[in-house]
């Protein structure tokens, strides 16, 4: 990291000699001698359970995957699908057969050639119950199988039309991994997944650091990339720093080059720093929310659910703890999603009187000495298992505020703090009344994943956290997938949003957003990959200063 600007050739020579000396001394510990400029340090705010994004499927996995995996197809900012590892494809009349023609000049970083066989191995891996894939496996529910016609041709069969199939294939969650690597035990592949991407994983210390090195033979950049061939930066250090203030402190001190989950409380300071750039982008999908579990009392009663939504003052909370750094959202779809309708935003505005009326109506008429509502001697209690370490500090404050406002309406919200594993376990066994959740995906089909009957069960985490089942909604969402006509789809998705809103299934909080902070004094050109707006390091360049 040279900061001086050499004025004469002699100083330049001296500096070069000094640098050479530095290199030889610092080179004995590391694998290859290089200046620090060739390492990009990224600090991520949420722990990564398993590096392989097929397993479970949480956002931190996808962020990393966008930098070492390629996908079959790619999506641009406008939502259009373009070739990537697949050069072309065709869809049968009935929408059930997709024939992909894939590239024959791409190699995985373990040396395995990429072929049509790899497409089959990957899709089979995602739907395998042993992979416990909530996200990728969830997206592939209509998947029947893949037939490999030759090295370059794979035919994927679905059991029903699935208009969003190519869109989800473009997500890093469904990135293509080496079929040889996938043959290893799950735990091993979790620690060292292998792709065809611009970087390869060379080391992983759990809860600490993932080290990546440039793929020198990279020749399969997606259309949204700004260059082709190998990445500009030689090494990437992907550090896991869940503590908000620590992560931000590292960036301010110049010890990391970029971070995600930028803490709201420091936005103003970061904006004022000329060396720091904020990269902000709302994500499509189902906004950050609390699922209301409809499968058990008291939320099996629609009136109680509506009363809870009317009791919460979400926007006031967002203003106070997020300082306006997120967009409030109360409709079923994030405003960044195609077919989003604003008509459902203010349906459950704060209204204590309406909440009281609904609760009286539902029979929760008495109050106990602590002010909580009571029916048949039982208190109106909501169990809320919560993993504070998996959420931003501001989110923790927000749920405390919701707890306080719900109390005024007579709800006792028990925030039960736990580690991620025990909270997830309760989430998957429907052992909760409230569950903090969100679902990022690049299509309105997210409604089917988050609210339809078939997603009340899953090998991994259960996407339909409200446990809501409604044949009419299932039918509408199925029809929307079978149609290619945008007007028909718009109408169907509008009706779906209506049903979801009428049933008061979630307390929506704010749109999910990519919020990155990036130091511009050493590097330039950190971008977001378009499908889920994830940090994309391939085009990053070093800046001389």
């Amino acid at each position: 990291m040279t900061t001086a600007s050499p004025s004469t050739p002699r100083t330049l020579a001296l500096l070069a000699a000094a640098a050479g000396l530095l290199l030889t001394t610092s080179g004995c510990g590391g694998p290859a001698a290089a200046s620090e400029d060739d390492t990009f340090v990224f600090a991520t705010g949420k722990d990564i359970s398993c590096l392989d994004p097929h397993v479970n499927g949480d956002m931190p996995q996808a962020s990393l995957a966008a930098n070492y995996l390629d996908s079959l197809v790619s999506q641009d900012r406008e939502g259009a699908i373009h070739p990537w590892l697949a050069t072309e494809w065709s869809v049968s009349e009935d929408g059930l057969r997709y024939t992909f023609t894939v590239r024959d000049d791409v190699f995985f970083t373990d040396g395995t050639p990429f072929t049509a066989e790899a497409v089959k191995a990957n899709l089979d891996h995602m739907v395998d119950p042993d992979t416990q894939s909530g996200t990728a496996g969830g997206y592939l529910k209509p998947y029947v199988g893949t037939e490999v016609l030759d090295e370059r041709t794979a035919v994927v069969t679905l059991n029903r039309p699935y208009a969003a199939f190519l869109e989800v294939l473009a997500q890093p969650f469904l990135g293509i991994q080496s079929p040889e690597a996938l043959k290893r035990p799950l735990a091993e592949n979790c620690n060292s997944p292998v792709g065809t991407g611009p970087y390869k994983i060379v080391d992983y210390v759990q809860q600490s650091t993932v080290s990546l090195e440039r793929n020198e033979d990279y020749n399969s950049a997606p259309p949204y990339a700004q260059h082709t061939g190998p990445a500009h930066i030689e090494r990437v250090e992907w550090r896991i720093v869940p503590e908000d203030s620590t992560r931000y402190g590292l960036l301010r001190a110049g010890q990391v080059d970029a971070l995600d989950l930028m803490p709201s409380v420091h936005f103003a300071e970061a904006e004022a720093d000329p060396d720091v750039e904020l990269i902000l982008q709302d994500r499509p999908g189902n906004p950050t929310n609390l699922n209301l579990n409809t499968t058990r009392a008291p939320f099996d009663d629609l009136r109680v659910r509506k009363a809870f939504l009317h009791s919460a003052y979400v926007e006031a909370g967002i203003d106070s703890v997020y300082f306006g750094t997120v967009t409030p959202a109360s409709g079923p779809l994030s405003s960044a999603t195609t077919y989003y309708s604003p008509d459902f935003e203010d349906v459950y505005a704060p209204d204590p009187e309406e909440a009281a009326r609904l609760l009286d109506d539902a029979g929760w008429t008495e109050r106990d000495e602590e002010g909580y509502r009571v029916k048949d001697g039982e208190r109106l209690t909501l169990h809320f298992p919560y993993a504070p370490n998996s959420w931003p500090t501001a989110h923790q404050a927000l749920v405390t505020q919701i707890q306080a406002t719900a109390k005024k309406a007579g709800f006792e919200v028990l925030i039960e703090n736990g580690d991620l594993a025990s909270v997830s376990k309760r989430g998957n066994s429907s052992d909760y009344d409230l569950r903090a959740n969100y679902w990022n995906t690049n299509t309105a089909d997210v409604l089917r994943i988050v609210f339809s009957t078939e997603y009340t069960k899953s090998a991994g985490s259960v996407p339909n956290g409200s446990g809501f089942t409604d044949p009419e909604l299932d039918g509408i969402l199925g029809d929307a997938l079978a149609s290619e006509d945008p007007e028909v789809r718009a109408d169907l998705y509008y009706r779906a949003q209506q049903i979801v809103s009428d049933n008061a299934l979630q307390l929506r909080l704010y749109n999910q957003a990519s919020q990155l902070a990036f130091r511009t004094d050493d590097h330039a050109n950190l971008t977001l990959e378009p499908s889920l707006s994830l940090p994309y390091l391939y085009d990053v360049t070093a800046v001389d200063n």
Partner: protein, 302 residues
């Protein structure tokens, strides 16, 4: 354990003022000796501790605001009029929360110490009076427990029985039990070997009578000191568990939990974390200072 007849030879005594011409009269000796033999630091500690205990028993005397009342529009207000310790990220009054948390934090410390003493006492006294293989078995068991750092032992309890205030007290209690067991075993051994136990035996008293009327009271005597010393440690441990999100649950006004809440706002609103932190320090420090003083006095009297 020196036997002292001269009151001025107490450890830590600095109270014999040089300019005092007249020695205190015999009738006033007790009170004056007590005041003179108590260093100023102990008085300060005792005063702070009294305040904390008062705040724990009668928080309403000190509270001006509801510690759970949120006011998002007034979040992150700096200390000043109306909010002497400022407000937190939810606009709650930090002073009220710190005061409201005194009860829970002190109670957690007390309960944890009581559990630790009970478990440790059971093990230690049993070992001390049983002898032979029961003693060795208990000693080996306690040594195994000693292999784990206390806080780790507490975390194991939490992992098994879940989070919450009750489990936190139990966890810290279990974590401190091995230490108490070892101390009480040694104490029991000394008492058992004392001549008065032999006397009681030769008088034909039953074993259980001797246990309850002779051994336990004599073992229990130094416990008071152990308790005051232990509470300070237990408060810190219980706060640590809450800090890790394993003790008190939101919106509880528990010092450790408040410290955890405030740590990410240190750069913009130091007061959210600083005041609960100061109170944890004060509680631990004052109980320890008072405990040490009592210990010295007791040792001097024996």
């Amino acid at each position: 354990m020196s036997i002292t007849l001269n009151p001025n030879s107490d450890t830590g005594t600095t109270a014999s003022a040089p300019g005092t011409p007249e020695p205190p009269r015999r009738t006033r000796t007790g009170a004056v000796r007590f005041v003179r033999n108590t260093p100023i630091g102990v008085w300060v500690a005792a005063a702070v501790l009294t305040f904390l205990v008062l705040a724990a028993i009668l928080p309403s005397v000190f509270l001006q605001q509801d510690p759970f009342e949120i006011d998002p529009a007034n979040a992150f207000a700096a200390p000043g009029a109306g909010h002497p310790f400022g407000t937190d990220q939810n606009g709650r009054d930090v002073f009220s929360r710190v005061i409201a948390g005194t009860g829970q934090s002190l109670l957690l410390g007390l309960a944890a110490t009581a559990i630790g003493l009970l478990l440790g006492g059971l093990l230690g006294i049993t070992a001390g009076i049983s002898g032979k293989w029961v003693d060795s078995a208990i000693c080996r068991f306690v040594e195994i427990l000693f292999a784990f750092p206390g806080l780790l032992l507490a975390l194991i309890v939490i992992a098994v029985s879940g989070t919450g205030v009750v489990t936190a007290a139990l966890a810290v209690g279990v974590g401190t039990a091995p230490g108490y067991a070892r101390m009480l075993r040694t104490q029991t051994l000394q008492v058992v070997a004392a001549p008065y136990v032999e006397t009681a035996l030769s008088l034909g008293r039953s074993r259980s009578h001797i246990l309850w009327h002779t051994i336990v009271p004599n073992v229990a005597r130094p416990l008071f000191v152990l308790v005051t010393l232990g509470i300070g440690q237990a408060i810190v441990w219980a706060s640590s568990l809450s800090f890790l999100g394993l003790g008190a649950q939101p919106p509880a006004a528990e010092w450790g939990a408040m410290l955890a809440d405030g740590r990410n706002y240190l750069q913009v609103a130091w007061w959210i974390a600083a005041f609960p932190g100061i109170f944890i320090t004060l509680a631990a420090l004052t109980t320890t200072v008072v405990g040490h003083h009592l210990q010295r006095r007791l040792e001097a009297e024996v």
